[in-house]
Amino acid sequence: MAEADQNLLTDVVTGSLPESKNLGKRTHPLVELTLARVREFARQPEAVFWVFGFPLLLAFALGIAFRNTAPERLPVAIESGAANTAETAAAISRSADLQAVVMSPAEAAQSLRTGKVALVVRSETAASRGFSPGFDYRFDPARPESRIARLAVDDALQRAAGRKDAAAVREQTFTEPGARYIDFLIPGLIGLNLMGSGMWGLGFVIVQARTQKLLKRLAATPMKRWHFLLSFMLSRLVFLILEVAAILAFAYFVFSVKIHGSLLSFMLISLIGSLAFAGIGLLVAARPRTIEGVSGLMNLAMLPMWLLSGSFFSASRFPDFLQPLIKILPLTALNDALRAVMNDGASLGASATGIAILSAWGLVSFVVALKIFRWQ
């Protein structure tokens, strides 16, 4: 008895242990933590849907909406009531780009307002003008199709009135693969999805673990804290491959969207982008104590990128003074780099700046998150 006590005391004081207490083999904590992340994710059917199913549905819907068909004729309204209405409509309809619709002035105004027609034409008789017949064009110059309609209508009416072309022109048309809207859209959707799944996938899990005191429990173990945070980023890599592959395969088989550059470069950029967003996700989830709190912060972080980063339309449409800001957003950098490889067939080196921007976001976010992380 006394001897047992004494052994115990030496154990307590020196930390040495009898062999029997040291049986266990252990895997590396980073491996176990990453496995735990992957398992937790894969065992949540709803999360799996939002990461894999939702982007495919979105790509499908947008692909259908913006599918490439023969160029449509622009609808143009001709106000009825003038003596030469029929001739005007006929002249306009002769143009391959236009479709003339005769309607009352009130109807025409309404159609223009609601975007059903691109332009309204009113014939001016000689009496009301005091000289040879002319036309009034009414349209909104901010609408690109209205400006095209104005040019085409004017051309058609001037020719009908007897104008001769001064120079002979020949036209050569072609549709370049990789230049369709769906080609533009797919890399943007991949970027958007990497952002969304990186941030949502991390934010909720972390905040939930915080509310149920799991983080506090982990903080009481010798677990290295950076192992814990890094495991989230590593687990993202597992899903990244599946996520990107799912969208790429879908786009290839349904819309024949191809990667013009190297697939390896594309995956590498996706990986760096995914790590960057996982880092930002960790940072956003570093402090909040409630799901509501983290949701608000997530939306705050993602909204500017949804709007500005050129996922659905080119970011160059925004005014010049915003461009420097837009350029340093991680999603812009990711979208641009993905498009460079996918659509332009560019090498990895061409996206060096974008990759640097993404890496900086990922690294800085990770380090700051580790510093300010709330464990309880």
């Binding site: 207490k21 040291n22 049986l23 252990r26 937790e40 065992r43 429990r217 010798p222």
Partner: protein, 329 residues
Amino acid sequence: MNAITNSTATQPAPRTALRCNALVKKYGEVTAVSGLDLEVRAGECFGLLGPNGAGKTTTVEIFEGLTNADSGDVELLGMRWGAGNDQALRERIGVALQQTELADKLSVEETVRLFRSFYARGGDVDHIIRLVSLEEKRKARVGKLSGGQKQRLAVACALVGAPDLLFLDEPTTGLDPQARLQLWGVVEKFRADGGTILLTTHYMEEAARLCDRVAIMDHGRVIALGAPGELVASLGADQIIEFSVTSEAGELQEAPLRRLPGVTGMRAKEATEANGVSYLLTVSEIGVALPALLAELEGENVKLDQLTTHQATLEDVFVNLTGRMLRDG
């Protein structure tokens, strides 16, 4: 070998696993821990007993290195938090927090394996699962476990690193009697293998059964300390008579009751919402005291409302010290 036996034979002061001096922790205006001194000896099971809000959890979390004290000194296993060896210290303690929810989607085995990976030393995963009798549930998801099974898993996670010092914060709160017995078995086994345990509880029977010594806490202080048997004995009585009288009687005079034969002490227990004032008599000889009490009440023309007697417990120690029930908070 001889030298060792000799040195133990001379009965050196028991080595200390944990010691704290003048520990203070405030949350705003509320003082959770108010100048606490405590010493836990190596190899003992030490209980912190007290009502909710007594400061037990705060105290334990300071010991576990999860909360910083405002002032005071904590030394465990010869080390201090924040002195550069926190990691080494965490390797040697095991922690089960009050109500931790482990990840629902992981299985029992995956959870234990995960926690095992954090510790440099410790037992084999199968062995630990067997230790807490969860072999049949090893493939089950944590979310599907019963309260008692979850709690045993939490204790398993505390044991994976073969700790020298185990902290259990209200390990059996909310468990049914059988689940509680199973958990006690795990704790007793760890203790028998030479581990040191600090547990908090507000169940007296748990403290009485498991603990070598208990400290009764109230308002962030220790108000009584000793072996459970000693504390009960300090009441100077082994039976308690608890009674209440009909309300028209008003407050009873204490002095005549204290003078009754066989009565060693008396205390009025604060009224709760459910009950009016009741009185507690600590008695050494129930056979003498009870008839005397009844005669006294009859003589005063006071009508009894309720009367019970029971063996004195730690609960009575607490009531005797504070006038409140442990579970009333």
